[in-house]
Symmetry: C2
DNA sequence: GTCTATAGTGTGATAGAC
DNA sequence: GTCTATCACACTATAGAC
């Protein structure tokens, strides 16, 4: 791993744990085990390094979500696979948590990958649900866009509830709830959600 | 307004805007228009002041939510009233945003009011849905706990999506989605969600 | 390309005058 | 009760040696 890569990885971890405001260059350097000079040689500063880290994290999250969503089965099965995939719930979403960071939201360059990732996810799920509707997998009138937004929001909000409770339980309950509501709209032999 | 109250109000605003880590005593004092001595006279430090501010914010949020949830109508109507109540969506939830602040979550005293508020909200909505089930307002098998968690998570996650997009639209879409899923479970003449 | 040294500013808290 | 002065330390960035 190059010095540059080590810096990006350390930044990714710290942004996830502490956010942008809560992460100092000093902490990044200590975790990466490099001196200050290296950071300012490879990057123009904290924001530039954060941008590289956020872009990488967004890329990883997108790939992970797409794997779960691209599996076999009905639209409902694929959304279920996404919702029930393994997660380190108490750590929260490395992309979503950045939206609570005013310095990230205020900087268009930093906000863009955050927006693009969540927007892509919403659109991906909406597309799957729309296909499901066209195939008659759901009863008439299911709102693919609204449902997709609710699914993504449930995950993001589930992290909030779990971190407040210091327990993954509220996350799991919320996921169970939205899955149950969705499964009730599926036609055919109702799978136990 | 007393000096102490001014300090708490300034802290509430700043915690909402910038979180605990992103808020300095200096910023609080400037906004409140008082000197440093006043703060350390009334409070032991930043955390103590934040605790007073968080408790007050939690109290306000609980009252606001309870007003919307205590209205007339069916269980579905009351949850709808809560979901559709006016919100400054792009500011996010003043309680929920604190869960992304590692220093808040790490301090049991600061985390407690955050947890209690969100847990109360979940329980309140679950109770309303349970009553609705008992009155036959929903078709059999609606999961009150799961649905309530999904409703609260959708709101919290809706803020995340809205802030990422710098637009309230994704929040509104998610709320429409979860409401549509819930309304489909209501018996009788389906109200257009 | 990486290091240490240094600078200037801000943070969170204390001391002591009024 | 409120103010200003001061403290020790951390933050972000730059300079310049190696």
């Amino acid at each position: 791993m190059t010095t540059s890569e080590r810096l990006v990885e350390s930044t990714r971890e710290l942004l996830w744990e502490r956010g942008f405001t809560g992460t100092s260059p000093k902490a990044i350097l200590q975790r990466a085990g490099v001196g200050q000079g290296s950071m300012y040689h490879h990057f123009t500063g904290k924001s530039d390094l954060a941008l590289a880290a956020i872009r990488r994290t967004a890329e990883v999250m997108r790939a992970t979500a797409d794997t779960a969503l691209s599996g076999e089965g009905s639209a409902c099965d694929r959304v279920r696979a996404y919702l029930l995939r393994e997660r380190d719930v108490l750590r929260g979403c490395p992309v979503g948590r950045l939206t609570m960071d005013p310095d990230v939201i205020a900087d268009p360059a930093l906000r863009q990958p955050v927006f693009e990732t969540l927007d892509w996810l919403r659109g991906r799920i909406a597309g799957i649900l729309r296909e499901g509707c066209e195939r008659g997998e759901f009863d008439a009138g299911l709102d693919p866009e609204g449902t997709a937004a609710a699914v993504v929001a449930t995950v993001q909000g589930g992290y909030v509830l779990a971190r407040a409770a210091e327990s993954p339980a509220p996350f799991d309950t919320a996921v169970r709830g939205v899955l149950s509501l969705l499964a009730a709209r599926a036609t055919g032999p109702a799978p136990t959600a």
